[in-house]
Symmetry: none
Subunit: 88 residues, 2 copies
């Protein structure tokens, strides 16, 4: 999945993949996505790299992380509301 002779960096490729999974509904609204540890293993990358990708998706309103519980997909209307209000 990740291309190690890249034009794009590893984190950018992973970002594209996860955003697609959200937008296509593979990761369903209101549900948790796989844990950081799970994503580390699936993609074969380091924790910091996963966090960088999830951080960007959170900034853009796709996800919300809850400590000790998981990282959840926001429904589209919530995402848009958050972006307007700027409370990323």
């Amino acid at each position: 999945m990740i291309d190690w002779a890249p034009d794009e960096t590893v984190w950018e490729q992973m970002y594209d993949i996860l955003r697609k999974r959200i937008e296509t509904g593979e990761y369903k609204a209101r549900n948790p996505i796989p844990s950081i540890t799970h994503l580390e293993q699936e993609f074969g990358v380091a924790r910091g790299t996963v966090r960088k990708v999830l951080g960007k998706l959170k900034d853009e309103g796709y996800l919300r992380a809850i400590s000790g519980k998981g990282t959840f997909v926001l429904p589209r209307h919530e995402r848009l509301r958050r972006l307007e209000e700027g409370d990323a």
Copy 2:
């Protein structure tokens, strides 16, 4: 006990110490070892570090954890059987 100017990492040093305690019988077969919380305090390390070490010892058949009860030392013959059967 743990050396903080290490060649070995903290978790590797802790792994060596615990494995020795099992092999010398300081932690007796069929008995529970100290709890994760206790080991955190004894070694002055974080929960994640303890769990990493115990996870390795479980993979190698030295220990078996039972949720809500404790982590138990497997007798040698059980350990060897488990390793042969590959049921971690």
